[in-house]
C-alpha cells in the first residue's frame, strides 16, 4: 500500500493542546508541509508568539525561540540579520501581531526583513479567554465586548494584509482561509510561496490566515466554518495582496 497523505516530518508526534475544531492545527501542518517540501526544515528557526500558539515549539521539529507579547518580528529580525543562512518564521495571532506587536510587524515589513510571518486571524484573543481583538468583527460578542464590538468606540477591525500591502518595500502579502479543503489547498500554495521567497532571499512575506475559534466564539466547529464564510470573508477579502515583482505597493 502506498501512503498518499500522512503527517509531515516537520511536525512532532505530540497531540496539540488546541481545542477541537480549531484550525491552528491545519495551519501548523501547512507550515510543516511547506518546510518539508522545500527542504528547509533543518535550517529553520521558528518564533513562537504569546497566545494560543505559545507552545507551538512542542509541535514543530525545528529550533524555536519563544518571544514576548508581540515581539516575534523583532526576534526574527535579530536572528536573521546575524545568521542570514537561517530560515526564520514567526507564527502570531491577531492580538499579538496586530495589537501589541503592530510596531514590530510594520517595521519588519518596511525594512524588508527576509522573514516569513504566519498571521492567524481568528477575530478574538484565544488564550486569554476570548477578549476583543483588533480584528474582532463589528457587533461580535467577546468577553470584553459583551454587547458586541461597538465600532463607534473601538473602531473597525484592522485589515492587516491591506495595511502591510501599502508599504513600498518589496514584499509578499497574502490572505487565505483554512475553513474548507479547497481554501486549505490554496492557503498551502501561499504559505509555500512565502517560504520560497525567503529561501531565495527575496523579501519579507506574510500570510494572513482566517482561522476559527469555536470555543471563544461559542459555536460548534461546523458553525464556526460557516461564520468564517459568512461574516469574516466579506470583510477580509482573500487573495494575494502584493508580490515582490510589483514595483510599488497598493
Amino acid at each position: 500500500m502506498r501512503t498518499i497523505f500522512e503527517k509531515p516530518d516537520a511536525l512532532t508526534d505530540k497531540i496539540t493542546h488546541y481545542c477541537p475544531g480549531c484550525t491552528h492545527g491545519v495551519i501548523h501542518r501547512l507550515v510543516a508541509e511547506s518546510l518539508d517540501e522545500l527542504g528547509l526544515r533543518e535550517r529553520t528557526v521558528g518564533i513562537a508568539p504569546v497566545g494560543c500558539a505559545v507552545l507551538a515549539y512542542h509541535y514543530f521539529n525545528t529550533d524555536f525561540q519563544e518571544a514576548a507579547h508581540g515581539r516575534a518580528a523583532a526576534l526574527a529580525t535579530g536572528a536573521k540579520r546575524v545568521r542570514p543562512d537561517l530560515i526564520l518564521f514567526t507564527y502570531q495571532g491577531d492580538g499579538d501581531l496586530a495589537s501589541i506587536g503592530m510596531a514590530e510587524t510594520i517595521h519588519a515589513c518596511n525594512r524588508g526583513e527576509k522573514i516569513t510571518t504566519i498571521f492567524v486571524n481568528n477575530a478574538v484573543y484565544g488564550m486569554t479567554g476570548g477578549q476583543m481583538a483588533p480584528t474582532t468583527m463589528p457587533g461580535q460578542v467577546t468577553t470584553t465586548s459583551p454587547a458586541g464590538r461597538d465600532v463607534a468606540e473601538c473602531g473597525q477591525p484592522i485589515r492587516m494584509a491591506e495595511v502591510l500591502s501599502q508599504i513600498k518595500t518589496p514584499g509578499y502579502i497574502a490572505r487565505v482561509a483554512v475553513h474548507t479543503p479547497a481554501h486549505i489547498v490554496k492557503a498551502k500554495r501561499c504559505i509555500k510561496q512565502a517560504f520560497k521567497y525567503q529561501a531565495e532571499g527575496r523579501c519579507y512575506s506574510l500570510v494572513e490566515c482566517l482561522s476559527t475559534c469555536p470555543t471563544n466564539w461559542g459555536m460548534t466547529p461546523i458553525e464556526s466554518i460557516k461564520w468564517v464564510e459568512e461574516t469574516m470573508m466579506p470583510y477580509y477579502p482573500l487573495g494575494v495582496k502584493r508580490t515582490p515583482d510589483e514595483g510599488e505597493g497598493g
Binding site: 526544515r41 533543518e42 535550517r43 529553520t44 528557526v45 518564533i47 513562537a48 505559545v54 515549539y57 521539529n61 525545528t62 529550533d63 524555536f64 525561540q65 519563544e66 518571544a67 514576548a68 515581539r71 523583532a74 526576534l75 526574527a76 529580525t77 535579530g78 536572528a79 536573521k80 540579520r81 546575524v82 545568521r83 543562512d85 537561517l86 530560515i87 510596531a103 514590530e104 517595521h107
Partner: protein, 359 residues
C-alpha cells in the same frame, strides 16, 4: 577618543560585530560611530524602530548564537526593561550600555546617576538580576565593555554597563588591548541554528508547570550567588587604615570624590574612598569592613539617594551613614564634597548629623 565612540570600538575589539540600537541623547554617537565602523569589519548594524524592538533583536541574535550589544540612555533602558526580564529568564548573554541621563520622565540630557535602582534592583518583572558594571572614565569604560562580553557568556546573562552622560561625552586618551589577549567567544551549543539531526534547541522563558519554573528560578539564583561570590569589583583609595570619614561613590562621582580625598588628605584629614565597580553584585563586605575603620560614612551620588540604600544595608547600622547628592546635571566640584566632609568632622561627637534621607 570620545567615550561613546570608545565604547563602540571596545565592542568591535571584543569581537562583537552585531549592534542594534535606537538613537537617544546622550549616547547617539555610539550608533553613529558603529554605523560607519561595523560595515568595515563585516558586522551587522541596525537601527531599530524602538528600544523595545531593539531589546528583542538582541534576544533573537543572541539566541541565534552571536555576540550582540546595544547602547541606550535612561528612557530607552526603561523601554528595554521588559526585554531584560525576558533575556534573563531565557539566559541569553547580551551586553547593554546605559549612558545615564537625568529623570524621571524625559528629565534632562545631562549626566546623572539616577538609574542605580533600575539597574541593580531590576527594572523588569520577575526574579532576576543583570550584572552591572560602572566605569569611572573612558579607559575603564573600554575595559569593562570588553570584559562584559566574557562575563555575559560565563553566566549566560545580560551584563549592563552603567555609565553616565559625562563618560559618554568626555574625551580622554584610551588604549585598546591586543585583540589576541581577549578571550574568544564561548561556543553556544544551545543556540537556535537550525536543527539538522540533533534535538530541538529551544530558547524560552515560559515554564508553565510550577516545578519547572521554580527549577529555572533556582538555577538563576545559583548563578547570582556565583556572581556575588566571584565577580565583586571595587577600588579602595586610602580606605585601608583608620579614617575619620569614608566616602562611598561610584562612576564619575567617585572620580571627583577621589580628588576631594586628595585635597582633604593634604590638609591632614583622614579620609578614604571605596568605589564599587560592580554595582550588582555589590561589594557589601568591602563597604562594611571599610566602614568599621571610619567614624562616619558619606555617600555621594548624582541622585537624591539610591546607592545609599545599599550602603545602609552594608553598614547595617554600625556607623552613621550620611548622604550628599546633586541632580539635574549639576555636578559638584571636589571642593563642594570636601566641604560636606568637613561638616561631618566639626559635628559634636556622639551626635550623628543626618543629611541623608534616612539613617
Amino acid at each position: 577618543m570620545k567615550g561613546n565612540e570608545a565604547i563602540g570600538e571596545a565592542a568591535v575589539c571584543a569581537g562583537c560585530l552585531n549592534y542594534f540600537a535606537y538613537p537617544i541623547t546622550p549616547q547617539s554617537e555610539v550608533a553613529e560611530y558603529l554605523s560607519r565602523r561595523l560595515p568595515e569589519v563585516g558586522g551587522t548594524f541596525l537601527q531599530g524602530e524602538s528600544e523595545v524592538a531593539v531589546s528583542y533583536m538582541l534576544f533573537g541574535a543572541s539566541a541565534a548564537g552571536e555576540r550582540v550589544f546595544t547602547t541606550s540612555s535612561s528612557p530607552g533602558i526603561s523601554l528595554m526593561a521588559e526585554g531584560m526580564s525576558y533575556l534573563s529568564g531565557a539566559q541569553l548573554p547580551v551586553v547593554i550600555v546605559n549612558i545615564v541621563r537625568g529623570g524621571p520622565g524625559l528629565g534632562g540630557i545631562l549626566p546623572a546617576q539616577s538609574d542605580y535602582m533600575q539597574a541593580v534592583k531590576g527594572a523588569g518583572h520577575g526574579d532576576y538580576h543583570v550584572l552591572v558594571l560602572a566605569p569611572a572614565g573612558v579607559q575603564e569604560a573600554v575595559d569593562l565593555t570588553i570584559d562584559a562580553f566574557t562575563l555575559a557568556e560565563r553566566y549566560s546573562n545580560p551584563v549592563l554597563i552603567l555609565g553616565d552622560g559625562m563618560i559618554g561625552q568626555m574625551m580622554e586618551p584610551v588604549e585598546f588591548p591586543d585583540p589576541e589577549t581577549i578571550p574568544p567567544p564561548q561556543p553556544r551549543p544551545w543556540a537556535t541554528t537550525g536543527m539538522k539531526d540533533r534535538r530541538q534547541n529551544l530558547i524560552r522563558s515560559l515554564f508553565l508547570s510550577p516545578d519547572s519554573l521554580e527549577y529555572n528560578n533556582m538555577h538563576l539564583r545559583a548563578k547570582y550567588d556565583a556572581m556575588e561570590r566571584d565577580e565583586v569589583r571595587y577600588e579602595s583609595y586610602h580606605a585601608e587604615r583608620k579614617m575619620d570619614v569614608l566616602i562611598v561613590a561610584y562612576g564619575t562621582m567617585a572620580r571627583i570624590c577621589k580628588t576631594a580625598v586628595d585635597v582633604l588628605r593634604e590638609q591632614g584629614l583622614k579620609v578614604g574612598l571605596v568605589r564599587p565597580i560592580s554595582l550588582y553584585p555589590y561589594p557589601m563586605q568591602v563597604v562594611h569592613e571599610a566602614a568599621q575603620k571610619a567614624k562616619d560614612v558619606l555617600v555621594v551620588e548624582l541622585s537624591t539617594g539610591q546607592m545609599v540604600e545599599d550602603v545602609h544595608h552594608a553598614v547595617a547600622g554600625s556607623r552613621p551613614v550620611h548622604f550628599f547628592g546633586k541632580t539635574g546635571g549639576n555636578i559638584p566640584p571636589p571642593d563642594r564634597i570636601a566641604d560636606e566632609v568637613r561638616k561631618l568632622l566639626v559635628k559634636k561627637p556622639g551626635k550623628s548629623r543626618k543629611t541623608g534621607r534616612k539613617s
